[in-house]
C-alpha cells in the first residue's frame, strides 16, 4: 500500500503536466470546432442547395468515422502526404476540431431553426438586410439557446481527447501508460488518470455553468 501511494505521489506531477496538454488540446479543438461549426450551421440553414449538400456530406463524414480512424487517416495519411511536418499535437487539434465542428454545427443549426420566423420578419420590416438580421437578431439568440447543448461537447471532447494516445500526443493517458509500463503498477496509475479526468470534467462543467448564468436572459431557459 505504502509503495503504491509513493508511486502515485511521484507520478502525479508528471501526469498533471499531461493534464495541461489535455486541456490545451480540448480548448483549442473546441475553439477550432466553433470557428468552423458556426458558419457550417448558418450555411445549412440559409445557404443555397449545393452549399447545404456539401455541408451535409461534411457532417455525415466526420460524424460517421471513429476518432481513431480519423486520427490515423489524417496523421499518418493525409497530413504526411502534404510533406508539411505537422506535429501529433497539431494533428490532434485539427482532427478533433474538424470533427467537433460537425457536431457543433448540428447544435447551432437546431437553435437557429428553433427561433421563430417572426423574428426575421420583424427585422426585415425594420429595414434590416438578411445579413444584419442574422448577425444582430438570430445569432445572439441562437448562441444563447446553444449553451446547454454546447456544454455537452466539453465532456465529450475531454474523454475523446485521450484517444490521441494512439498517435503519441503526450496527454494524461499517454504519460500514464508510460509510467504504468515502467513501474508495473497499472492499476493505481490508470485510476489516478481516471480521477484527473473526472476532476477536469467537473471543473469545466462548473465553468460552463457560470457562463450560462452570466448570459442568462429572461425567456431563454
Amino acid at each position: 500500500m505504502m509503495i503504491i501511494t509513493g508511486i502515485v505521489y511521484e507520478a502525479l506531477p508528471f501526469l498533471l503536466q499531461g493534464a495541461v496538454t489535455t486541456i490545451s488540446l480540448v480548448v483549442s479543438a473546441l475553439f477550432f470546432g466553433f470557428i468552423i461549426g458556426l458558419p457550417l450551421a448558418i450555411g445549412q440553414v440559409y445557404g443555397c442547395l449545393w452549399v447545404k449538400k456539401i455541408i451535409n456530406i461534411y457532417v455525415w463524414f466526420f460524424r460517421g468515422l471513429p476518432v481513431l480512424v480519423l486520427l490515423f487517416l489524417f496523421y499518418y495519411g493525409l497530413f504526411s502526404i502534404t510533406g508539411l511536418n505537422i506535429s501529433a499535437f497539431l494533428s490532434a487539434v485539427l482532427v478533433l476540431g474538424l470533427r467537433s465542428a460537425a457536431y457543433q454545427s448540428q447544435i447551432f443549426r437546431g437553435s437557429i431553426q428553433s427561433i421563430s420566423e417572426g423574428q426575421l420578419m420583424a427585422a426585415s420590416a425594420l429595414g434590416m438586410n438578411k445579413l444584419k438580421a442574422v448577425w444582430n437578431i438570430i445569432l445572439p439568440q441562437a448562441l444563447r439557446l446553444s449553451i446547454p447543448g454546447w456544454s455537452n461537447e466539453y465532456p465529450a471532447m475531454l474523454t475523446e481527447s485521450s484517444i490521441t494516445y494512439a498517435i503519441g500526443v503526450t496527454e494524461v493517458l499517454t504519460r500514464g501508460s508510460f509510467i504504468a509500463s515502467r513501474t508495473y503498477q497499472p492499476m493505481p496509475i490508470y485510476l489516478t488518470c481516471a480521477v484527473i479526468f473526472l476532476f477536469l470534467s467537473y471543473l469545466g462543467l462548473k465553468m460552463l455553468h457560470i457562463l450560462e448564468i452570466k448570459f442568462k436572459i429572461p425567456g431563454f431557459e
Partner: protein, 259 residues
Amino acid sequence: MEQNKELILEIKDIHKSYNGKAVLKGISFNVFKGETKVIIGPSGMGKSTLLRCINQLTVPDKGSVWLKGQEITHRDAKNINKLRQKIGFVFQDFNLFDHLTAVGNVEIALIKVKGMKKQEARNKAIFELKKVGLEKQASLYPAELSGGQKQRVSIARAFAMEPEIMLFDEPTSALDPELIGEVLSVMKELANEGVTMIVVSHEMGFAQTVADEILFLDGGKLLEAGPPEKIFCEPKYKRTKKFLSTLNELYGNVEGNKR
C-alpha cells in the same frame, strides 16, 4: 377634402395566390397623409397577406405599391430595405426580439439600419418608450412584459424609425381583453397626432372613433369601402351586413357603440 392632401400610399391591383389558390384578386386603394384606414373582413381572407404585400414581406404576384410616388414593388433586396424603414409594421404576435430589452428592441434598428450613434439612439428609444408609457420598463426583457406592454414596445419600435405610414396587423387580437385598451389608446393618440395608418382590426369601437374609411375585404376583393357611419348603418351588400352582425354577436352591439 382628400384631393388637397398629399398622397402617401398607392396600392394598384394587387394579386396573390398560394399554391394555386387565389387569396387576393386585385386590390386597389389610396392612402392620404394623416388618414386612418381600417380593414375588416372574415378570417383567412387575406388581410395579413395584403399588409405584408405592402412592405414586401410577401411579394405579390401582380400589381404594384407606391410610397410617395416611389415604386416599392419590383425592387432588389438592397432598395427594399431602404423603403421598409419608411413603413412601420406592428405584428399580431409582437415579434419582439427576445434577446433584447425593451429599449434594446427600439434602438437596434436605429443603430444598425439608420446608423445612429448609440447615445443618440438610446435617447430616441427612451423618448419613444415614454410616449407609449413604458419608460419604467425600458430595461425589462420581453419575457418580463405583459402582452399589452409588449405590443406597446413593438409600436414604439416601429414608430422610432419615423415611418411615413404605420401598418397594424390585428394588434390587439393576441391580447387578454383587459389589456386591449392600453394598446388602442396608444394607437388613437397616434391617429390624433396625424400619423398615417392602415389598421387591420375588428375593434369596432376603435374603428368608429378613428377610422376615416373602413375597407371590407371579402373573397379576395375590397367588397365595400366608406366612412364608418355608412358601413355600419347602411352597408351596400348583404355580405357586409352579415359579417357586421357576426361581429356584433362577438363584440357587442356596433350601433350601440356609436358616438
